[in-house]
């Protein structure tokens, strides 16, 4: 299906990443969206959302440390790191986002002992006191980065980095808005590739790519003769193959509310004279992660609004197995959507793409259910 499209979405993140590193850019690995990626775009530094794309051997080593009952994202990352596949990362920045990520931090520190390894204490609330707390955390992180990498983390520089970040998010939002159309000029898989590249490459590398895509979109047609439009709700989705497998069944993924997707990650960060407070409020208040204790209604509204805005026919909610917060949240999202008479499919999965046959069966049945 995708062969019908031209190549604007064909990005080679690996070679671009190598080029960036060869040009002395410094990748700082992060594993959670509570890490302020906009702040890490200063000087030669750039944020790299840690993934285990290419992991093919299972997680035997990581299971020894993290056990088999933790989320497979954390196990895959640890395995990948223990296999020296993430050696290029010059510093690790964690967020105390969930139990599993916190323990990944503990294990990375113990096993790999990176030279720079920091964990952010992220509140579970989004009010003023929590924002103030978190802004101090960001300030402390900024100081540590400045000291370790000799980077100019002045308020002016950080404010500039936020501006650049916002510009890119704005451009991506312009692209994402095409998905609201009846016939979007790209597939969910293509958009996923674009977003994956955005989260793993220096922003200056992404800007021309995004501009090129923006220019070519009016000339493109929808690459999929789809029967239904899906919203995918999940945590981390790093494998485009998973989205592709869904779309190969005759669906078009038009909206993605997951950590590596567009919603709400493309929201613009506010800018005042206190960039730390701006970033803290942005991260805590736009955060759609079920780890937050006071944003449940907001999260449900976001899903419902997305369904409306993107003319979604059905929602696939796909928690990674063993994730407690998503596990419990999923039950409630299902009830919420069923009350609103919105078709919903619960699809538990592992982080690494597997079980395509089962996936096809479930998605096909779901599509048939919607069409009927």
């Amino acid at each position: 299906m995708l062969s019908q499209t031209n190549n604007v979405f064909k990005i080679s993140p690996k070679s671009l990443l190598n080029t960036a590193i060869d040009n002395d850019n410094i990748p700082l690995g992060y594993t959670c969206n509570n890490v302020p990626r906009m702040m890490l775009n200063v000087g030669k530094l750039f944020p790299y959302r840690v993934n285990a794309n290419g992991l093919s051997s299972g997680t035997e080593l990581a299971d020894i440390y993290l056990s088999q009952v933790t989320c497979s994202y954390t196990r895959s990352i640890l395995e990948f790191a223990m296999d020296d596949q993430l050696e290029f990362i010059q510093g690790w920045i964690f967020a105390a986002g969930c139990d599993h990520l916190r323990r990944l931090y503990d294990n990375v520190q113990y096993i790999l002992a990176p030279k720079f390894c920091h964990i952010l204490d992220v509140p579970h609330k989004s009010g003023h006191d929590a924002i103030t707390w978190f802004s101090k955390e960001l300030h402390a992180l900024s100081n540590e980065i400045s000291e370790h990498f000799q980077a100019d983390m002045s308020v002016t520089n950080i404010a500039q980095a936020i501006s650049v970040h916002n510009d890119v998010m704005q451009s991506l939002q312009t692209i994402a808005n095409y998905r609201k159309k009846n016939s979007p000029p790209f597939s969910g898989t293509e958009f996923h590739r674009l977003m994956s590249a955005t989260w793993t490459l220096p922003i200056q590398f992404m800007k021309p790519i995004i501009e090129r895509i923006e220019k070519q979109l009016p000339e493109r047609t929808c690459p999929i003769d789809y029967k239904v439009r899906f919203l995918v709700v999940s945590s981390v989705v790093d494998q485009s193959e998973w989205i592709e497998a869904i779309e190969n069944n005759g669906a078009l993924v038009v909206a993605d509310r997951y950590c590596t997707g567009a919603i709400p990650e493309l929201e613009i960060c506010p800018q005042t004279d206190d960039p730390f407070y701006d970033m803290a409020s942005h991260l805590l208040q736009t955060n759609a992660c079920p780890r937050m204790m006071d944003t449940f209604e907001r999260r449900m509204d976001l899903i419902f609004q997305t369904v409306q805005d993107y003319h979604v026919d059905g929602v696939i909610i796909s928690p990674i197995k063993f994730c407690d917060i998503w596990g419990v949240e999923t039950t409630q999202v299902m009830s919420f959507l069923k009350e609103k008479k919105i078709p919903v499919l619960r699809l538990e999965r592992d982080y690494c793409f597997s079980g395509e046959g089962q996936l096809n069966t479930r998605v096909q049945a779901f599509i048939e259910q919607i069409i009927q």
Binding site: Y65, S67, N107, Y110, W133, P290, M293, F322, D324
Partner: protein, 464 residues
């Protein structure tokens, strides 16, 4: 053992047994037959709690002398307290607040509010009847809660989903001890449709900044309770409660000093069940102080007479994580089988036992510290050092021979440290047993399965 001692031990059991049943029977007498019938109909779990005296058999079985007296005294404390809590099902229900076990009730007591600890059933029921929460776990799983979520929040959710919760008017909870527990409260709120306040403990809490932040959270909680419940804060009452708690904690420290000795004068339930109940369910209750004073007297008496709680004490261990709820008599068995003595558990050990009651702020800061360093919370939150530092400190301080980890399959947080723990123990030469099991659900690993693990450990590692 002499015949007289044997008779005395039997007397301890029967006196306690009668006393407990008197307390159990008083509750339906207080409520009257109609109300009791209605309660039992509405809250079927009351049948399980009515079996609470089984606990006496479990904790006294095989125990002698002062050790037996101590364990019986702990049950004698639990039974009337429990019956008193059950009075909250029918009296002053407009003041009844559902609180998570990680939010201790001192402040609620001081505000004149009645409490219902939502995890109480999930903790107590499997203790008195191993299979009693399976029904509620199944209800939660059938409602869509993943099977891998901890069975304690699952059983708590099950009770609420099955509409068997008392008529509470507000919910108090926190982000401790784990994501599963935290997440479950949104579902509980949605189901009960009543106001909820959630306390947010920072990730890293051993510093003044975190204590200030959390003390402010407590202030916000008090303000919120004054708006959403009839409760009003009485700071003098809170001071009395905290002072009483401090007295109890002072006795507990004395008790810990005594059990450092080899052989230990008291062990197991006398140490951990007393703490679990008195510090988490009824803090500030003078009868709790009396219990700990009595435990100290019994321990000192044994020390003076050079009597061991476990006559053939050979090995001393700590139990990390909550006790095995559905197999509470495991250590009674292990004492007799291997002379293996449970000295203390991770839930009882606390680095911040006292509250400074000189000012309102100092009380709130003390409570903030206690809540953040509460059972489980201090080990499941924060960096891994919090977990390991306490563990190896306890190992040395209490002169232990091994470490047992109750490896509850639902506790991913601690499971994710098992690899590091194994290596650290290997490096330090500390024998380690991680017991694979489920906290509340014996269908996952049966009692026999747990015993087999312990047997293999003793045979292969300890060469017994």
């Amino acid at each position: 053992m002499s015949v007289i001692s044997n008779i005395q031990d039997q007397m301890v059991f029967y006196q306690s047994w009668i006393k407990n049943y008197q307390n159990i029977i008083k509750m339906p007498l207080r409520h009257g037959p109609i109300q009791t019938f209605q309660n039992v109909n509405k809250y079927p779990w009351l049948w399980h709690l009515a079996k609470v005296n089984r606990l006496l058999t479990m904790v006294t079985n095989g125990r002698q002398g002062n050790y037996r007296k101590a364990n019986a005294a702990v049950v004698e404390k639990i039974v009337p307290n429990l019956m008193h809590i059950l009075d909250n099902l029918v009296h002053d229900t407009d003041r009844l607040v559902l609180h998570e076990d990680m939010v201790p009730p001192e402040i609620l007591f001081a505000m004149g509010l009645k409490t219902w600890m939502s995890e109480l059933l999930g903790i107590l029921m499997p203790i008195v009847d191993s299979h009693s929460v399976e029904k509620y776990i199944d209800i939660a799983e059938n409602a869509g809660i993943p099977p891998d979520v901890c069975s304690l929040p699952k059983s708590t959710m099950g009770v609420i989903l099955n509409k068997e919760v008392p008529p509470v008017k507000a919910i108090l909870t926190s982000n401790s001890p784990c994501d599963g527990g935290m997440a479950s409260y949104q579902l509980i709120k949605n189901k009960l449709d009543i106001p909820m306040f959630q306390l947010d403990a920072p990730y890293n809490f051993y510093n003044d900044r975190a204590i200030d932040y959390f003390a402010n959270e407590l202030k916000r909680m008090i303000d919120w309770l004054e708006i959403h419940t009839p409760g009003k804060m009485d700071w003098d009452h809170l001071r009395v409660i905290c002072d009483e708690r401090n007295k109890m904690a002072a006795y507990e420290l004395e008790l810990w000093e005594s059990i450092r000795q080899r052989p230990a004068p008291l062990a197991a339930e006398a140490i951990y069940l007393s703490h679990l109940w008195c510090f988490n369910v009824t803090p500030g209750d003078p009868s709790g102080t009396e219990l700990f004073k009595y435990l100290v007297e019994l321990a000192n008496d044994n020390v003076q007479k050079n009597i061991a709680a476990v006559p053939n004490e050979k090995y001393r261990t700590v139990l990390w994580n909550p006790p095995l709820l559905h197999f509470i008599d495991l250590f009674s068995w292990a004492e007799q089988q291997y002379g293996l003595t449970l000295i203390i558990d991770s839930m009882s050990y606390n680095r911040q036992p006292f509250i400074d009651t000189s000012t309102i702020d100092s009380m709130l800061r003390g409570l903030a510290h206690i809540i953040m360093t509460g059972p489980m919370a201090r080990h499941t939150r924060g960096p891994a050092q919090n977990y390991f530092n306490d563990m190896f400190y306890i190992y040395t301080y209490f002169d232990l021979d091994m470490i047992f980890v109750a490896g509850h399959i639902g506790c991913k947080n601690t499971a994710a440290l098992n690899g590091i723990l194994r290596e650290k123990c290997r490096n330090k030469g500390i024998p380690l047993l991680i017991i694979d099991y489920d906290l509340s659900d014996p269908r996952v690993v049966s009692h026999d399965g747990i015993i087999q693990q312990l047997d293999r450990f003793m045979e292969n590692i300890m060469n017994k």
